[in-house]
Structures are given as C-alpha cells and as structure tokens.
C-alpha cells in the first residue's frame, strides 16, 4: 500500500520507509536530540516491541533509555506519568490500545488532570503510543478503536496518523507538546510504505489534511479509513463523482475549519471511522457541522459509517463486515453525491 504524504514542513530529502520504521525513526531522532526522552513499555527492549516498532533501539540507546516494564499497564503508565511530572519526556507503548483500559486511572484521572489541578505549575508531557484497530484476526480484546474514549477527555490530545510521514511527524509533535498526547497507530498500516522526510520535523496536531480535492461530497476519515475512502473516491471519479477526502489526523483538537470549508463547498458529508458508530468521532463531526454556518450549505442528511454495534469478531469475514470497507464508503458517497440519501 502506498499513500500520498501530507507534511507540514517537508525537508528536501525523503526516504521510503514503512509506517513502523517511520515511528522508529522519530523515536531515534528524539532520543538523539533530547536526553530527557525515554521509551517505556512491555517487551519494547530486547524483543523489539509487540509489533517490532521499537526494534533495535535498545541496542542503540541502552537499557536506561529504552526500558522494558512489567506486565502491568497501570503500573507502567503510572511510572511514565510520574517521570513526566519530574521533567522527563516518556513515550509509553501499549502492546494493544485495548490494554489502555487497564491504565485509565493514570491516563484520564492523572495525566489529563494534573496541569489543571496544580494550577498550571506542573505538566505531564507524556506520549502514549497505542497500536489500534481491527483487521489482524486478533478478535474482540485486541482490535478496538478507542479514539472517541480519549478524545472525550479535556487535557488529552489524540492523533491518528494515516501515513508513514505523518506517523513520524505527529509522534515528534506529540513529544514537543507540553501535555499528554495519545498516538493511535493503526496495526494494518505498520507495513505501509511511503516517502518520509529525513531528520526532524513535526506535523501539527489539530490540523486535518485534504488528501483529495473534490466538489461533490466530503468524506472525513481517519487512519486506515483514509485509504479506503481514497480507494472509493478513485472509483467514483470514473463515474464523474468528485469526492473530497479529508484525513482527520487529530481527533482532539479537531480541525473544524478544514471540515466546515469542505462541507460548504460540497454540501454533502460522510464521516468514516473505525470506532463504534454510536457516540463516535463521526457524531462529533456531524454535530459540529450542524452547529456551524456550513448547515446552510447542506444538501443532504449527514451520513456516518462506523464500526458495528458489536465486539470485533474473530471470523475474518465478520471482522471485515464489522468496520467500514471501501465498497461501503463508495456506495454511500455515491448515493449522497446523486441526491439519493
């Protein structure tokens, strides 16, 4: 899979690498340029991480900076939050974003709150990396998409890179941010290749990217859904339907301006996200459009495609059916564009 890259500060030189390699590159650059950066997580050292994202970083930077933590997400996240409070910049890796449920106390009640509760005199510059999403046959407890959960918490920032270049740029932006940032890495994207700028750069948090221009319907998608939306848009283009595809990139803060401008242009909105449809990211996007001056430009009811109201099934056919696929996106976008919704 290859994708267009959308980079805020493109360096002149780029190199092709996978999404996982781009994240590793970002961590290596951070470890090199900032002595306060440390990596923590289960099996991220000698084993190289559950998805081999940290790889050989322990050999390059040593066990003091690339630390294996015990099988306790609550404990590991707690140490990371404490380390951040004392001035370090930890990146804590969850093996699966699902396991963040074990560390909710530290993420939601501590990391997100402490700046506020201590009157701004303390900050928690921690980054939580969370391999996320379905499609790997890992079933109900290893396949969820929790963007909306964490996006609901003031004090947290939540990003979802869809390309190798953004995976690197958003991770470096997360490290540069003074507050806790959650980076959802889609597991199906780890092997995706793309051109990635060399050296240090950041992709701004809170800024969406228009990855395909169109005038007939706006598709707002994130992570793997961006690629499915682009696939659908390419097919629709052959029928003369021009879909505009927006890569959300950040769930919190959300880029209202880009979405509103696009909907004002197309009058039709389709939100595509992998998390459970009800009370999900698409609900927020739908509401912000309904509340904005783009309302007067809507020419069809807003549509959402999200995850099924069920745990992710183990059966691969059911697993595919449980989250939006390109054909479904194409179908709804076509109906929207034709005024049939």
């Amino acid at each position: 899979m290859n994708a267009q890259t959308h980079i805020s500060q493109p360096e002149t030189k780029t190199r092709e690498m996978s999404y996982a390699e781009a994240i590793r590159d970002a961590m290596a650059i951070a470890l090199e340029r900032d002595p306060t950066v440390i990596l923590m997580g289960e099996d991220i050292g000698t084993y190289g991480g559950a998805f081999q994202v940290t790889g050989d970083l322990v050999e390059r930077f040593g066990k003091d900076r690339v630390m294996d933590t015990p099988i306790s997400e609550l404990g590991g996240a707690g140490v990371a939050v404490g380390a951040a409070l004392t001035g370090l910049k930890p990146i804590y890796e969850f093996q699966f974003s699902d396991f963040a449920a074990l560390a909710m106390e530290q993420i939601v009640n501590q990391a997100a709150k402490l700046r506020y509760m201590l009157g701004g005199e303390a900050a928690v510059p921690v980054v939580f990396r969370m391999p996320s999403g379905s499609g790997t046959g890992a079933a109900a407890q290893h396949s969820q998409s929790f963007e909306a959960w964490f996006g609901h918490v003031p004090g947290l920032k939540v990003v979802q890179p869809s390309t190798p270049a953004d995976a690197k740029g958003l991770l470096l932006a997360a490290l540069a941010d003074p507050d806790p940032v959650i980076v959802f890495e889609h597991k199906l994207l780890y092997k995706m290749k793309g051109e990635v700028p060399e050296g240090y750069y950041t992709t701004p948090i809170g800024k969406a990217a228009v990855v395909r221009q169109g005038k007939d319907v706006t598709i707002v998608a994130s992570a793997i859904m961006v690629h499915r939306a682009l696939e659908a848009a390419a097919k629709l283009a052959k029928e003369g339907i021009e879909a505009e595809v927006i890569d959300l990139r950040s769930v919190r803060p959300i880029d209202r301006e880009t979405i509103i401008a696009s909907v004002k242009k197309t009058g039709k909105l389709l939100c595509v996200y992998e998390g459970v449809r009800t009370l999900g990211v698409g609900a927020e996007i739908s509401a912000l459009i309904a509340e904005s001056d783009a309302f007067d430009y809507l020419d069809a009811p807003i549509q959402r495609l999200g995850g099924a109201e069920a745990p992710i099934p183990y059966n691969p056919d059911l697993e595919r059916a449980a989250v939006p696929q390109a054909a479904g996106i194409e179908d709804v976008a076509r109906k929207l564009a034709r005024g049939q919704v």
Binding site: K238, E239, G267, F295, D296, Y297, D299, A300, G339
Partner: protein, 443 residues
C-alpha cells in the same frame, strides 16, 4: 424570526425620517440589497435597501409619516416562515403633528388577516442549502417539486427554478386542428436498394416519422410507442450503419442528412409529424430545414447540434463496446438513474450490436461527426428558421448533451426540461414524453 426593517440614521443629527415611498408592496418578495423604500430627511432624499431577502410584511409606516430613527417600519419574513401577529407601530415622531393618528393601524390589521402561508404543518421538505437559496432568490419552496428522496427539495431543484425564471418558457404555438375524419394512413412503399430501413405502424391521420439517435435503432422507440396514442401512424427510420439499415461510409453530417432526406422523400406522401432524438434530433432539424413544407410539427428530444459540448467518451465507448460488461458503464451514462441499467439490460442491448462491422462503422461515424469529442455541426441557425410548431424535451440530468443547449431555441419553441431524467427521456419517462408529444401533435 422575521428581520426588522428600521428607519435608518443617515445623518449625524437625524432624529427621525419621513418615509417617502415604498418600492415593495406588502406581501411581495424582496431581495436583500434591493431598494425597499425612500426616505426624506431635512437635507436629502435617499433609497434604503432591504436588509434581508424574503416577503415584506407588516408595513408600519405609510408614505408621508415621520418615523423615529431605529423604529421598525416593516418586517421581512423568510420564505415559508409562519407570519406572526402584526406588531404595534412605534409611536410616530412627536415633531410631526400629522402623524398623531396612528397611520399604521389599518395596515397592521390587514397584515394580521393574511392567511398563514407556509404554516409549519404543511412546510415543504427541503435541504438547508435549498432553503437558503430559495430565501436568497425569493422563491416559495411550496411551489417547487422536490426530486430528492420522498420529494425532498434539493439544491438542484431551487437552482433549476432560478434558471427557469431567467428563461421564459414559450407556450406551444397553436397548431391547426387536424381534419376530424382523417383517413387511415397506410404506407404504400417498396424499399429499393440503398434505401434506409423503414418500419411502420398503421393508424389514422398524419403519421409521426421517428429518427433515432447515435448507436441506437428503431427498436429504442418501443417504450414511447406504447405510450403514444394507439391510432397514431408511425414511420421509424433506421439511420445508415444502424439497426437494419445498410452499413455505409459517411463523410460527415451533411452526408448523413442527405441519406435521410433521400429515404424521406421516397416515403413521405404528404406533410408528417417529425420526431428525432439526439443525433436524430439534429437530423430532423436539418430535414425540417430542407423540406419545411413537408413538416407539420417538429418534436426534438435532447437534439444534437445546438452547442459544441458532448460526452465524446461515452459515444466512442458505446460504439466500441464489444461485450455487455464494457457497454454497461456507458449505458449508465445515458440515464439519470444508472442503477436501472442491469447486467441483463446491457446484455440485451449488446444483442443488437454483435456485428463487429456495424460497431466499426459506428466508430467511424462518431469520429466523423464528433471529432475530438466536439459536435462538429451546428443547427442553431436551422432551428431559428423552422416554421413548424416545435417542441423540445430535455432531461436536466443529461450527461451526454448538456440541457442548457436547449436555451439556443428561439422563443416560439416549447421547452420541457424534465427533472430526474437523463439523455433518453423517451425511455426513462415514456408516459410523460408521450403526453407532451401527443398534445403537441393533436392539440
């Protein structure tokens, strides 16, 4: 909420202004920025613009009345907005003794007595952008027919109405009534070598000659024939290299028109009604131009030749397609509802196009008529010369020939721009098209 229209302060030391004249009457539509009323101050007279688009209601100040600055003089309601009770006029400026009697009162009573047009329970269903455009364009939503799901009024419906208002539609020109007891029309014709293939249906009165479009054939008229008056005699002509007519190398549009005129001259015994679709429409126009006295009425469905734009890719695609699978996507382009083009439909359509020689002749014809995807022939002059009563039907969702080319028609031509219909109105809505043609031929 209606928009309040107030007496503006147009002068630094102005406390009140005298309303000179209203440019818009109570109940009339007004557009934001248009002149609404004139005021006279001590120093000057000036025009006041409408602060919003909508319907003017509750005029509170009559001409000659002095109104304090900032007091309401009327209200502008959005299209379809329920009319509220008439507000009370502001007390007139004390400086003007004439205004002591509340001049606004009778107006207010009148306004309150107006029927509650567009009350909530009968509000039309419309998308937000359709509502906004209607509001801005001073269009009553209730007057529109929505083409969206469950009749919802969409942006395209309002835009079409705005376009329609820009283009006055001519009423069909009167046609002399046919003789009451027309004799049965029986064509006495023996085809000769080189003639185009012609099929007929017997009936009474003046026959209708039908000329199909590019890559179609006479069989394509079947849905329309079923809906036309049963006793209407029909003469269907297959164009060269189409249907069952001989394959022929055609040098260009004039050459094609010549072939049609030759066959027409041999079959037409007297004046006929003429109907053409697309390329057949252009040929019918040419025929009407060459043989004006032979044409009693002219009906054109999405005729070619009225502008340069055409979907050349679709024409070439249809001409080239050698399987149902490669034909189907192009057939879908022909209609406003492509979901109706099933695989079986495409298979059936392909049956009449199995002959590779026919396909290659049609490809050549497409290249000669539409080089570089452009209509290389222009019949707007012929259209302006046509004296027979002419009817034009066009689908607003025509993806092959843009319906706006219909606007090339002179005022005498009756335009019917159908909603939710593509390039083949006689197949997509044969009943409606047959009704229009039926009335046109036998008013």
């Amino acid at each position: 909420m209606p928009t309040e229209v107030i007496m503006p302060k147009v002068d630094m030391d102005m406390a009140s202004g005298k309303l000179a004249v209203w440019h818009v009457a109570e109940g009339e539509a007004v557009k934001k920025g248009a002149a609404l009323f004139d005021i006279e101050t001590d120093k000057a007279a000036m025009e006041v613009e409408a602060p919003a688009s909508g319907i003017l209601r509750h005029i509170l100040a009559n001409p000659g009345v002095d109104v304090p600055v900032g007091s309401p003089v009327a209200y502008i309601y959005a299209e379809g907005e329920a009319i509220g009770p008439a507000p009370v006029a502001a007390p007139p400026a004390l400086a003007e003794p004439d205004a002591a009697k509340p001049a606004a009162e009778p107006e207010a009573v009148e306004a309150a007595a107006l029927p509650l047009a567009g009350a909530a329970d009968e509000a039309p269903r419309a998308t937000p952008v359709a509502r906004r455009l209607a509001r801005e364009g001073g269009i009553e939503l209730a007057a529109l027919a929505g083409t969206g799901p469950k009749g919802r009024i969409q942006r395209s419906d309002v835009e079409a109405e705005i376009e329609r208002r820009k283009t006055p539609v001519a009423a069909p020109a009167p046609v002399p009534a046919p003789a009451p007891a027309a004799p049965a029309y029986v064509m006495d014709w023996t085809p000769q070598a080189g003639d185009l293939h012609v099929t007929t249906r017997k009936g009474n009165g003046v026959p209708l000659v039908m000329v199909h479009g590019f890559a179609a054939d006479s069989a394509g008229w079947t849905p329309l024939e079923r809906a036309l008056p049963r006793d209407l005699p029909l003469i269907r002509i297959d164009l060269p290299s189409h249907g069952r007519s001989p394959l022929r190398r055609i040098a260009g549009f004039a050459d094609l028109a010549k072939a049609l005129v030759q066959t027409f001259d041999r079959i037409a015994e007297g004046p006929v009604h003429l109907l053409g679709h697309s390329l057949g429409g252009a040929l019918s126009l040419a025929l009407a131009d060459i043989r004006p006295r032979q044409i009693k009425t002219l009906s054109l469905i999405a005729p070619a030749g009225l502008g340069p734009e055409i979907d050349g890719a679709a024409l070439n695609g249809i001409a080239r397609a050698s399987t149902a699978d490669s034909l189907a996507p192009w057939l879908k382009r022909l209609t406003a509802r492509p979901e109706g083009i099933s695989h079986d439909f495409a298979k059936a359509a392909m049956l009449s196009r199995l002959d590779p020689a026919l396909r290659s002749a049609q490809q050549e014809l497409a290249e000669s008529l539409f080089p570089d995807g452009v209509q290389a022939f222009d019949l707007t002059a012929a259209l302006s010369r046509v004296t027979a009563p002419t009817l034009m039907v066009w689908g607003r969702d025509d993806h092959i020939l843009p319906w706006k080319q219909a606007l090339a028609a002179p005022g005498e031509v009756a335009l019917h721009l159908m909603r939710g219909v593509g390039h083949v109105p006689h197949m997509e809505d044969p009943e409606a098209v047959a009704a229009l043609i039926g009335r046109h031929l036998r008013p």
